[in-house]
Assembly symmetry: C2
Homo-oligomer: 202 residues x 2
């Protein structure tokens, strides 16, 4: 059986990677999501092992020391990371695993697992990105300015990704991501074992 | 505007590349087919410039001498080839062009146009390939033996292709080819100009 695909969705905030991530999972419910480990306190409704694995700083540092992470980052003084073992296990069992993560996390994953398929979700334009961030109504003029500055810096890292999907219409962009996942399963080197088996027989 | 995609469908006879080729064009009627040049005489109903461009041996040899072919082959003492110029013109205008061609032709195309997307249509098994060839009712025991021998030799060249599609169900295989075409349009390097333009603006 072929290994599953490790699929990474990245993109600046406002590009819509969260929406596309959820829509892809509606079309391909068989795809697994990885569960992150975090040192922040659980919010109400957050269930251990469903939303996150909640760890103390000490436990988390030990996991880093033991090289247990596929990627790890610190956000607002809290650590968030993806443990390697369960992801590699799902892939070995032939399950596809999808990540919605920032550029930094994507680069760490690609480094530890070069066969990862990395997809960058782009806004159709900066104007549209700005419009979406304002529409959220959660941005102050300052935070908006910061987010747009970050977006420009992040977008300039597009070369790190295998694919670029422009999210003008979320359904069209979702179809493109689904097509990428289906196409990657047909890559020659992913099917070599099957073909070799076929050529051996008879 | 991005260049169109040059898509190559290959596979041993009986794998079903012809059927898939036609089904892909039903789903993506915007994809252009290239018209071959041949030295064989037109059959009735065959129209110059629609089915083939019919040339004399002398004209054909001159075209070879002038390096006008993307690929050329001799089949049963007749020459068949694809003229480069019209294909490259369609690609430059942003049109995708699809080829249904054998391994030898596919290799020639990939050599002259490395950006070609080459897809190998595989039968699900040798048993099924044999069953399909017999079902055609056009094969003598000898020609069947020859075709199966050729198939085995051709299948062992799978490494020359970018993608492998197993044709168990023609509709599923067609969807996979369509997904490959859609995914290839999202490849990072095919969208670099668009992104650079976006980063320049504003």
């Amino acid at each position: 059986m072929n290994d599953g695909l490790l699929i990474v969705l990245s993109g600046p905030s406002g590009a819509g990677k969260g929406t596309i991530h959820d829509k892809v999972l509606q079309i391909m419910p068989e795809i697994k999501k990885s569960i992150s480990v975090t040192t922040r306190k659980p919010r109400k409704h957050e269930i251990e092992g469903v939303h996150y694995y909640f760890k103390t700083e000490e436990e988390y540092s030990q996991m880093i020391a033991d090289g247990e992470f596929l990627e790890t980052a610190s956000v607002y003084c809290h650590n968030y990371g993806t443990p390697k073992a369960p992801v590699f296990e799902m892939l070995k069992n032939g399950s596809d695993v999808i990540f919605e993560i920032d550029n930094f996390g994507s680069r760490q994953i690609k480094k530890k697992y070069p066969d990862a398929v990395t997809i960058y979700i782009m806004p159709p334009s900066f104007e549209e990105l700005e419009r979406r961030l304002i529409a959220r109504g959660t941005e102050t003029p300052d935070s908006l300015k910061t987010r747009l500055g970050n977006a420009r810096r992040e977008l300039s890292e597009y070369k790190d990704f295998d694919y670029i999907v422009f999210n003008d219409d979320a359904d069209v962009a979702t179809e493109q991501v689904v097509a990428i996942i289906r196409a990657e399963k047909c890559r020659m080197y992913r099917n070599e074992q099957t073909v070799k088996g076929m050529l051996k027989r008879k």
